[in-house]
C-alpha cells in the first residue's frame, strides 16, 4: 500500500501522465481517465486540474473539494457501490455542485455491491455489476473521445 507516498505528489504523477499522453505522437488529443477507489478520487481531482480532460470515470472515488467543482470540463460517469459509506456520504454535496454548475454527469449505484466491486482479485468482486459498469465505461469513452 502507499501510505508512505506523498498524496499531493502522487496526484502530480497522474497530471504528468495526462500531459505525457496528450503530447504523445500517437495521441489524437482526446483525453479520458478511469480510476478505482483512491484512483477514482484522483480522476475527480484530475478533472478539476486538467481542463483538457474530456471524460472521467471514477469508480467509488472520493469527491473532490466542492469549491473546485466549477473547474470541471469533463463529462463524468460515476460508479458507486451500494455499501460504501465513506465514499457515498460525500456524493450528495458533490452532485449538488455538479448540478449547480451544469456539468454533464451520469451516476449509478450498483445494488448489492461493496466498495471495490470491480476488482476481480478480491471477494468484493461482483461480476454482474463489474460487467455492467465497465460496459457503461466503454460506452462513455466511445461517446466522448471519438474524433
Amino acid at each position: 500500500m502507499q501510505k508512505q507516498l506523498d498524496d499531493g505528489k502522487m496526484q502530480e504523477d497522474f497530471v504528468a501522465a495526462a500531459e505525457f499522453l496528450l503530447k504523445h505522437p500517437q495521441s489524437t488529443g482526446k483525453l479520458g481517465a478511469v480510476g478505482f477507489c483512491q484512483g477514482g478520487g484522483r480522476v475527480n481531482r484530475l478533472a478539476v486540474r486538467v481542463p483538457q480532460l474530456a471524460a472521467g470515470v471514477p469508480f467509488y472515488g472520493p469527491a473532490p473539494a466542492v469549491e473546485d467543482v466549477p473547474k470541471i470540463k469533463a463529462a463524468l460517469l460515476l460508479n458507486f457501490a451500494e455499501t460504501d459509506p465513506n465514499i457515498n456520504g460525500r456524493w450528495p454535496g458533490y452532485e449538488a455542485a455538479l448540478k449547480a454548475n451544469s456539468i454533464k454527469y451520469e451516476a449509478y449505484v450498483y445494488p448489492g455491491t461493496n466498495h471495490g466491486f470491480h476488482n476481480d482479485t478480491t471477494p468484493r468482486f461482483n461480476e454482474a455489476a463489474a460487467k455492467l459498469a465497465w460496459q457503461r465505461t466503454i460506452d462513455h469513452f466511445n461517446k466522448t473521445l471519438k474524433s
Binding site: K3, E12, G35, F36, V43, T121, W134, F141, N142
Partner: protein, 150 residues
C-alpha cells in the same frame, strides 16, 4: 480457482478489512479484530488470506495478445514522488492503427498490480471486443509505479 463472495463474510469483517486496506489499522490489528470471526476451524490469518487480493485471478486479457502492444515506459514527472523525476507506467495500445484517443487508468491504493494492468490492456477487458471497440476506445494507459501489496 475459488474466489469467495463478499456475501460469505460478515459485514463487520469486511469493514475491518476495508480499514486495513486503507491504512487505518495494521495487519496485527486486523487479525486481532478478525479473531471473533475465526470459527469452525478457520484462523484469523486464514480469513486475511481469503480477503486479500489473489492476482492469479486477474488476467482476462492475455499479456501476449497480438492485438495489443503493451510495455512499461518511463515518463517525466518532475513534481511527483520519484526522486529522479521519472515515473513508470504501463503503456498499451492496439498493435495496428495510427492515432488513438488516450485514457489514463488510475489504480487503487495498491499500486500498479496485475489487476490494474489487466484493466489497462486493450482492446478491452471483460471481453468487450466488439468491432472497432479497441480502436474507438482510447488505448494508452499509464499508471503509477508498482507498490507491493501487504
Amino acid at each position: 480457482m475459488d474466489r469467495k463472495k463478499a456475501s460469505e463474510f460478515d459485514p463487520e469483517l469486511l469493514g475491518l478489512f476495508h480499514k486495513y486496506v486503507h491504512g487505518g489499522i495494521s495487519r496485527r490489528e486486523f487479525l486481532d479484530g478478525a479473531a471473533k470471526f475465526a470459527v469452525g476451524g478457520l484462523t484469523a490469518t486464514a480469513l486475511w488470506d481469503m480477503l486479500r487480493p489473489n492476482y492469479a485471478l486477474a488476467q482476462q486479457v492475455a499479456k501476449d495478445d497480438k492485438r495489443i502492444k503493451a510495455e512499461y515506459t518511463m515518463y517525466p514527472s518532475p513534481k511527483g514522488n520519484s526522486s529522479n523525476g521519472q515515473m513508470r507506467g504501463l503503456l498499451a495500445r492496439p498493435s495496428s492503427g495510427d492515432k488513438f484517443p488516450v485514457v489514463v487508468v488510475i489504480h487503487e491504493n495498491r499500486g500498479l498490480n496485475p489487476y490494474i494492468e489487466d484493466v489497462a490492456r486493450p482492446p478491452g477487458r471483460r471481453r468487450l471486443h466488439g468491432p472497432g471497440a479497441g480502436r474507438a476506445l482510447a488505448s494508452w494507459r499509464l499508471s503509477e509505479r508498482g507498490q507491493v501489496w501487504g
